[in-house]
């Protein structure tokens, strides 16, 4: 059976798809793509549906060996990659032959990158999704050396597709937010502080990003009751330092929520690296909806801008490889 063998995992690589939203009522985190745009682009470059299962890596990618056949992959992310030591382009479908090794290096920009495989990764479905929630083990664990990732045999007739990297919207340091219903539990200046000051990402993972800035204070006597939470929520523990919830968030939370990042900007939030800053801008529901429609239109334009790649890459041709060496 054709598969990818993990020779050396990145620091925090997981299999992700659109997640398992419908099981939150029994405590299962939604999970899913941290940067849905990169996932959609990587999948489109290998002619997959937008929600096919991919590898999502953090800080750096993995070293993967192709075993048992040829595969087609695409890397979406600001990084460098090689096949058997020969540089290969990102944002382009790549044909990998049996025995070849793909190395995806550290990211130059953003926290996450995506590797899509034609046909989608064929790891087992758990509660309707292949997404990995490493914290609880639902859908498996982070990638480890020796892991086997089943893939579908590649159709040799399918042409490789390519997208100019310059067209891909880069992660932005500004995230638009909507006030949360519980903002009334905070002091009157809390929302103003949130949007006035830059926030530094202290540390984070797929569950959330811990932010540092001026303390946000609850009103005396405010006792929030635990309730459902959303990805992008800025929840504030007693320390006054908010946590921006990511896709591996818990389903119910007891900390008060001051604001929520809009869906269109969740990828920008998720892509902030440790030590980077993020600024928040308050918008209203109409603006949030407009931003989402605009993001969808931009995705459509990017898909339309993908071209068939006619050039043969050196690693794809033994003859070219020989000439290079």
């Amino acid at each position: 059976m054709t598969h990818l063998l993990v020779e050396q995992p990145g620091p925090a690589t997981t299999v992700q798809d659109a997640g398992r939203l419908a099981w939150q009522h029994v405590g299962v985190a939604p999970g899913g793509f941290a940067d849905p745009l990169l996932a959609a682009l990587a999948n489109a470059l290998v002619a997959n549906a937008p929600d096919a299962a991919v590898l999502e890596w953090t800080q750096a990618g993995d070293v993967l060996r192709v075993v048992g056949g040829s595969v087609r992959v695409a890397i979406a992310g600001w990084t460098d990659a090689q096949v058997d030591g020969v540089p290969v382009p990102t944002f382009r479908g790549l044909r990998l032959h049996d025995g070849q090794t793909l190395t995806v290096g550290p990211l130059r920009l953003g926290r996450h990158g995506v590797l899509a495989v034609a046909g989608g990764l064929q790891t087992p479905l758990v509660l309707g999704s292949r997404a990995t929630h490493a914290r609880t083990g639902v859908g498996g664990q982070r990638l480890a050396a020796g892991n086997v990732l089943p893939v579908l045999p590649v159709d040799p007739a399918t042409a490789d597709r390519v997208l100019a990297e310059s067209l891909v919207p880069r992660p932005q340091p500004v995230v638009r937010v909507l006030a949360a219903p519980q903002h009334t539990l905070f002091t009157a200046d809390a929302l103003a502080l949130l949007v006035a000051e830059p926030w530094q990402v202290l540390a984070g993972d797929r569950m959330g990003l811990r932010l540092q800035g001026p303390p946000l204070r609850l009103l005396p006597g405010a006792e929030p009751v635990s309730e459902g939470v959303v990805t992008g929520a800025l929840q504030v523990p007693p320390s006054g330092q908010p946590i921006a919830l990511g896709p591996d968030r818990q389903t119910i939370g007891g900390y008060a929520k001051l604001a929520v990042g809009i869906t269109a900007d969740l990828r920008h939030l998720a892509q902030r690296t440790d030590g980077a800053t993020v600024r928040f801008v308050q918008v209203d529901a109409t603006a949030a909806r407009g931003a989402l429609q605009q993001a969808q239109a931009e995705l459509g334009a990017l898909l339309a801008a993908m071209r068939t790649a006619h050039d043969v890459l050196p690693h794809e041709s033994p003859r070219l490889l020989h000439l290079l060496s």
Partner: protein
């Protein structure tokens, strides 16, 4: 019922002012109505103590139309509790003595109070299969640990604030460990992945460490 957006992809439905059995009944009734209605665009319904969070697909759902449809729903009367779980517990947790000292009780009294109370599942969250239980006697309300423990083993019976629970998987927690149970609270491959469901009743049954290996939680079907 108050319906208000939480972000641009969820609606928060508040059906009661304060947690309790009355609030839970109102939550269950609205949960039943929402699931029966299967409103277009709704991707998840998350019941909690006094609220339900309705997640929807923001690109393809008209939020205003969804709010109107939810406001038009009539809560479904929910049947009375149908299941009562009896969970054997070895009360030998690492925090039992410290909790007893903090509350001014003997460890035996803490065990008697904890095992003597009747509990009900208000909702599930925090981790897969993690049931928030109501019914902890006020004498056992104890502030959470200042520093959470990085690893609380699966099966640990814990108390924190006004709540008690059983850990479904090994996870960090700031709650205190009173004892341990032997049960699988969550298994993705099971027809019903979560053992406990909202509305279930639950009692703890003290056993010895020697009895744990053969212990199983018993489900009593209520008349």
């Amino acid at each position: 019922m108050n319906v208000t957006p939480l972000g641009d992809a969820a609606l928060l439905l508040t059906v009661a002012a304060a947690p309790g059995l009355v609030a839970s009944a109102a939550v269950f009734a609205m949960d039943a109505a929402l699931r029966a209605a299967a409103l277009p665009g709704v991707v998840a319904i998350v019941p909690a103590y006094t609220t339900l969070l309705v997640h929807f697909a923001p690109l393809t759902t008209d939020a205003d139309a969804l709010i109107a449809a939810i406001r038009a729903l009539v809560p479904l009367p929910t049947p009375p509790p149908q299941r009562r779980w009896h969970v054997p517990i070895v009360y030998d947790g690492v925090d039992l003595a410290a909790v007893a000292a903090q509350l001014g009780l003997t460890p035996a009294r803490v065990v008697a109070l904890h095992a003597g109370a009747a509990y009900a599942v208000a909702c599930l969250g925090f981790a897969p299969g993690f049931a928030y239980l109501t019914g902890l006697p006020p004498e056992l309300h104890v502030p959470r640990r200042a520093t959470p423990r990085p690893q609380i083993p699966a099966g640990s019976v814990i108390v924190g604030g006004q709540q008690t629970a059983i850990m479904p998987t090994t996870l960090p927690s700031g709650w205190h460990v009173l004892g341990r149970a032997r049960l699988t609270l969550f298994a993705a491959t099971r027809a019903a992945p979560s053992l406990l469901l909202p509305g279930d009743q639950l009692r703890f049954l003290p056993i010895t460490a020697a009895e744990l290996a053969d212990s199983v939680p018993r489900c009593e079907v209520l008349p």
